[in-house]
């Protein structure tokens, strides 16, 4: 007799993957939903017979058809979740996992985040509290290109120039498989010490860097942004409502992008034994691309430009460093790779630390540091030559600096 696991919202982006993974691992999955299994929609009182004997319930369902700031009893997401949790408790289900979000905050910009927060508060205060586990999930990516992830992947691949809001805000991308594994661990694991878990990487990255990773994963080159202030974006949303013939855009989505502060996840990851993968290679793999060769050649060019005859270990280090920083590939032209000296025309001053080529050269400099013989120096004339050519090339660089920004 396989252990039973109940999943709501099982047809969604996360739900479908969770169901598949749970069945793979030998659970008897019961899908509570509109289309499959026992007919149920959020807000309904579930039949006790559907719940009894389950070892856990994962609640992913979320209704978007509810008036945004409705009071508790009117808001089907809140009342429905509480109903479900209490029914699970009454039926003796030992664990109720509620899928929340890293945007869950009392003052979240968007209704979604605020609603999730309100649900969390009510769950903590209701009769079912002892069996409730909350999973605050980061920005989910990977797998089928649907939901928010599909939208972002499409956006990133659209064009090399993208008007965007919230570029500097931090996001915490986590792979769909990792979310599913985390939820499964929460729904089936014995006595977890925490009530609230954060399923997200420890190190947030900027939204801009994330879109770049998505673009490069699809084998496209650079991505440049036109930063758009939030107010302008909201105004545009309002315009879409007024103007005929163009699809309306829900400001909710825009506010979701404008986002919230990152959440601390190290403890949760440790407890759930989740070791998160690096998104760039994972995506590259999923999109059927690998960048091994080109990025290696780029690393070689960067080192040679700095006057270093690269060794194997330095190349490996630099490739790794470039990949971690989301600088792989830089998109150096074949001519550059053949004649690294040409980089002199494009190199920005080293104190422009946000410039991608400057960052890449900094990493190259560091990657070759351990083997640097102390005391070996450029001569006086060599140094003078390097500095004066830098000064002479300056005007040209200003013109060309945009190339690898």
């Amino acid at each position: 007799m396989a252990p039973r696991l109940i999943i709501t919202g099982s047809t969604g982006y996360i739900g479908a993957r969770l169901v598949a993974m749970a069945r793979e691992r030998g659970f008897d999955v019961v899908e509570l939903g509109r289309r499959l299994g026992p007919a149920w929609r959020i807000g309904d009182e579930p039949a006790a017979s559907d719940l009894e004997g389950a070892i856990g319930l994962v609640h992913l369902a979320h209704s978007w058809a509810t008036p945004p700031e409705a009071a508790e009893e009117e808001n089907v997401n809140i009342s429905g979740t509480l109903k479900l949790a209490e029914a699970a408790k009454a039926a003796g289900v030992p664990r109720f996992v509620f899928a929340s979000s890293t945007s869950s905050r009392r003052e979240a910009l968007n209704v979604y985040g605020r609603t999730k927060f309100r649900i969390e508060e009510h769950l903590a205060a209701c009769k079912a509290a002892p069996i409730v586990r909350i999973a605050r999930i980061g920005l989910v990516y990977g797998g089928p290109r649907t939901a928010m992830y599909g939208l972002m992947a499409k956006l990133a691949a659209l064009s090399p120039i993208l008007p965007m809001i919230g570029l500097s805000r931090k996001v915490q991308p986590i792979h769909l498989d990792e979310v599913a594994a985390g939820l499964l661990a929460l729904a089936t694991g014995e006595n977890q010490p925490l009530k609230t878990f954060v399923l997200a990487p420890e190190k947030p990255i900027s939204f801009a860097a994330w879109l770049r990773i998505l673009r490069r994963g699809q084998g496209k080159g650079n991505l440049h942004f036109i930063p758009v202030p939030l107010t302008a974006a909201l105004l545009a949303c309002r315009m879409t409502k007024l103007l005929p013939l163009i699809p309306t855009v829900d400001p909710e989505r825009v506010l979701g992008l404008a986002g919230a502060a990152p959440m601390e996840s190290s403890e949760s990851l440790r407890l759930l034994k989740l070791n998160l993968a690096d998104p760039a290679p994972t995506l590259a793999g999923e999109f059927g691309q690998t960048h091994e060769e080109p990025s290696r050649r780029e690393a070689q060019a960067l080192l040679r430009y700095l006057g270093i005859a690269p060794t194997e270990i330095q190349l490996q280090r630099l490739c790794e460093g470039l990949r971690r920083e989301g600088l792989s590939p830089l998109g150096l032209s074949p001519a550059m790779i053949r004649h690294p000296g040409l980089l002199a025309l494009f190199e920005p001053p080293a104190n422009r630390t946000r410039h991608r080529l400057a960052q890449a050269l900094y990493l190259a400099d560091l990657a070759s540091e351990p083997e640097r013989a102390s005391g070996k120096k450029v001569g006086f004339f060599g140094a003078m030559l390097a500095i004066s050519s830098d000064v002479l090339l300056f005007p040209l660089r200003v013109l060309l600096a945009g190339r690898y920004r």
């Binding site: 190290s266 430009y305 700095l306 006057g307 270990i313 280090r317 630099l318 790794e320 460093g321 971690r324 920083e325 002199a344 190199e347 920005p348 001053p349 080293a350 104190n351 630390t353 400057a358 960052q359 050269l361 900094y362 990493l363 400099d365 560091l366 990657a367 540091e369 351990p370 083997e371 102390s374 005391g375 120096k377 450029v378 006086f380 060599g382 140094a383 390097a386 500095i387 050519s389 830098d390 090339l393 660089r397």
Partner: protein, 509 residues
Amino acid sequence: MNGPDADFIIIGSGPAGVSAAFPLIAAGRRVLMLDGGDDAGSQEESRSVRVLGSNLESLRTDDGSSPKLQTPAARGILEPFRRQSGITGDGFIPIGSLARGGLSNIWGAQISYLDAEDIANWPIDIASLQRSYEHVAKRIGISRNADVAIDADGEPVLPLGATAAHVLHRHQAVKPADGSFRLFPAVNAILSAARPGRAACDLRDDCLYGCPTGAIYNSRRDLLLLRKSPHFRLLDNMQAISLTHSSGWTVGTADGSSFSAPRIILAAGVLGTAALLADLLPFGEQGLRLLNSPTLAVPLLCPPRLLRSPTPTHSLAQLGLSLRYGSGASDYVTGAIYEVGTLPAQSFINRMPLGRKAGRAAFELIGSSLLVGTIYYPGDQSHSYIRRDETAGKRLTVRGGFADGFGLRDETLKKMLRREWKRLGLIQLPGASLAEPGIDAHFAGTLPMGAAGPFGTSSDGELNLHPGLYVVDGSILPDLSSKYVTMTIMANADRIAHRLAETEANSAL
């Protein structure tokens, strides 16, 4: 209920903890030391690991902090404390360490001694402190920097860098206007001759990346000696988190173990100790006064040394200096001058408006003529408090700040310093900056010896109202002069441990 685990439990394996352990085990007392860290990272490592970290964590963009705090070594020492101590800063960077050897892993190794005037307000006499200075100095090994041309009078010396030597000669040749400014070869806890288990300094100037030879003193190495004694036990990865008192004291650790002894010695560092005592001290509205040293960093250029090659030396302090800015006993700053040519080039190149290749060339060209002066003010120029946030349980927040009128004093001092730089033929470069409070890591005065009330300790570091609970780290120094404080913390811990070793051990029933 079993018997006590030891006569004394020492919490912390940093300089204060080991200094307290030696006298106790010499007197035959059983000592159990709880260390928040472990032995990892102490084995010999390749330069690559020391520069880039074992998983290349250095290959990330420069975060703009001081080069000293950016090395993998420093990150490994500071990071766990930052994450697990529950202490946050507000205008203050709470520096502490859970690693084996504590902050001695990344200290600048400068040695200063307090004199009778410095400790006028302490409830102890200078003679007992001086005796302990001698004990500690003998144990850790100290060398003075010296100009190789001069024959030293029998004390161990390390070569002074050529640029520092140039500045020192100039100071001796051009007499200062008054006696307020002193400049002298720095004294550091670095070996110039090998000792068992530690090699002499190899002058490879890689100090910032950790010292593979063990020439720079690190209390980690003392633990090897301590462990040879049958009276000493060391437990790894035991982060103490609670203290409770019934018949004796019981220490609870993060992994749920507990240990008891009639006497507990806290040596967890000023912030670590405050966190441990959070439940025993009535923090109140105002919180706990913390002394720290406001710190100034000044980049300097020594034109006569342009285009010359640097000479082999270590990259710690080359020269020490002090400058009086007021008439009060403690109204002087203490500082050190470093040669920049020996520091990692990248963090300088990253701030230059030149391409990387040209930047490196420029750095190598002028590097040997660049110096950095770091100047420490006395603790009374800080205005920092450790507060307890009642809503967040045991979490502490350190609010950093400067004393009233500090801005004016700072301006006056900078003027005085500019006068001295000029006299020494040095050009002050733009970019002098006052560090954020906390970065100095010179902390003291939270539980001053000789003070009455719940925040005071006896002259033996015993916490008022809590018999059997002793503190031996910087917390109990009643005031903080601008001199480097580590040597004094060690000596004071040694002094207290000698006194505790003399007293009869309680027969715990």
